[in-house]
Symmetry: C2
Subunit: 332 residues, 2 copies
């Protein structure tokens, strides 16, 4: 089942069921007006939504054309965005580039930061930012959405709480990150709003590619029209999503609609490219002594997508351009 | 105007207007069913809510007895909880105790971490935690709630976005914090659910005590029935709430219902006591070479409250006990 949120309606948009090809949709408002409502009441609404999905895919629903341009993030505002960093080889690379040894414990104790979740971008929304000098970067990741997760859940039990899967562009401001890392309170200004894939899908949509709490498919990033990377999200993911959820829930409950991220997808096999500019810059420096690829400038464009074995886009494409923003004070 | 959220109703509770004495309430569901709804539509509902508040305080509303026990957090789940650390003398003290010099920039560049906001506790809810060995501590703070804040807002303009003020007990697990600080990704497991005062109040309720984006009143903490501290929240607050909001909004918008915290209230005048155990332990160690006060154990109780010049409780009391939690796997 594929779900999306139209920008029509209020702040939380309007829930639609989308067909497998991501071309047709049908309103789900008689079952759940918003995706948050659906997640709040998952046990009660799942079967009804699946029935509607079956009807849509069989051509028996009163469908209309679905366009990602009209879609908000599946959760336009969420109660929690907890982003892990499960591809530890990426973390090790970043640390090495700073001349810092990565602690051995990072292979067994997940890194995770609390992200801002109050304003999520739609797949085709502009990346509005005030300053190119902040070191604007994209990060292609896989995320899951949970129902209510009890405190202390085990990694095994946690997998059962995964209701949906999405892609994310976790935009990062690299030069602000340095200062924030030094301060020790985690990321804040260096993490502007993230953008999500047009649709969120139930794990069964991935078939065999969903296994062991991981998505075993390449995550394909293009930058200004050129292939940038296609690392496999199932390879070198040290912590599966069950483990990441259990980490997040160690000392607290997670409320339905919690989004948990994988961190930048990265494979040890460097021939598959990268999912963010900073990794590419580090590899360039290691190879040639110099980072060549600049961070994003206004007008630069990134797309992030994942395809099934038959070449069909599973989540639809994230397609974003960086655009300059300027604050205007209200007239007094 | 004082607002609260009853635990009746759904996950977001039911909005009530509470009288000045915090003893009577009236349902506001015909104006706004929830506090989040009210904040989403503040310009449209504020006058109506104030009119209801006036009627209630004049004894002309159909009121019922208000009990904090029946109240959830004013925002039982919020889209954002951004906690500053504006009492820099406290930060300096903590750093010194670790043998680390605090960077000079901390006096001009606010510390702020992204907190978990998906499950906020009511004022009298138990602090459910799995392990006493984690170093359980309370932190008494002042918080504000904003409407929609544009990216890049100035500190001056930001003050105009402050709609409500609340108290918080920002529970912290000190021994987990050490590991998380070393990892550099900020706080996660060391920050279990926070509890909020029974009512949120509009700034005008504070009269002259709300000035310059600060609350100029003592924040009174009792621990197991003994006075623990009463530092003045308006003294030694290096960054006012306008500055904290502007810091949070530097590279992103803040959605209505964003909660911004002051950090542990702390005065350089040590005779007024502390707002958290760790500060007391550090002061004890500096004075006698030994930290005497242990962190919280199951059964320990903390209360946090603030009084106006006439001795009336402004926000009602946060009154919490630590209780052991254990995960139970669901039967297969």
């Amino acid at each position: 089942m594929k779900l999306a949120t139209l920008k029509t309606g209020g702040r939380d948009g309007a829930l639609v069921v989308v067909d497998r090809a991501i071309s047709q949709a049908v309103l789900a408002d008689h079952i759940a007006p918003t995706l948050q409502y659906a997640l709040d009441n998952w046990a009660a609404v799942e079967d009804k939504l699946r029935k509607l999905s079956d009807e849509l895919n069989a051509g028996r629903a009163k469908a209309f054309a679905f366009t990602p341009l009209g879609a908000a993030a599946p959760l336009p505002r969420a109660y929690q965005w907890a982003d892990g960093s499960a591809y530890v080889n990426h973390v090790e690379l970043v640390r090495k580039s700073r001349g810092v040894e990565m602690p051995e414990s990072f292979w067994t104790d997940p890194l995770m930061y609390q992200g801002g979740s109050d304003a999520m971008l739609g797949s085709h929304d502009d990346i509005l930012l005030p300053d190119e000098k902040h070191g604007i970067d994209f990060e292609a990741e896989v995320t899951v959405v949970t129902d209510d997760v009890p405190m202390g859940v085990t990694p095994e039990d946690a997998r059962g709480h995964i209701k949906l899967i999405m892609l994310v562009n976790d935009v990062s401001l690299r030069y602000l990150a340095m200062n924030e890392l030094a301060k020790g309170f985690g990321f804040f200004q260096c993490k502007p709003a993230s953008a999500f894939s047009p649709v969120a899908v139930t794990p069964d949509e991935l078939g065999d590619a969903w296994d062991g709490g991981k998505v075993h498919l390449p995550l394909v990033t293009h930058y200004n029209g050129q292939l940038f990377g296609r690392p496999n999200a199932g390879v070198d993911m040290v912590f599966d999503f069950g483990t990441l959820i259990a980490h997040a829930a160690r000392t607290r409950t997670l409320t339905a609609g919690t989004i948990v991220g994988s961190g930048t997808v990265s494979n040890k096999d460097r021939s598959v490219g990268s999912s963010c500019i900073v990794e590419k810059r580090i590899l360039e420096k290691m190879e040639t002594g110099e980072s060549k690829t600049p961070f994003m400038c206004f007008g630069d464009r990134v797309t992030i997508e994942m395809f099934d074995a038959a070449g069909m886009s599973i989540f639809g494409v994230i397609d974003q351009k960086v655009v300059q923003y300027q604050y205007k004070a209200k007239a007094a």
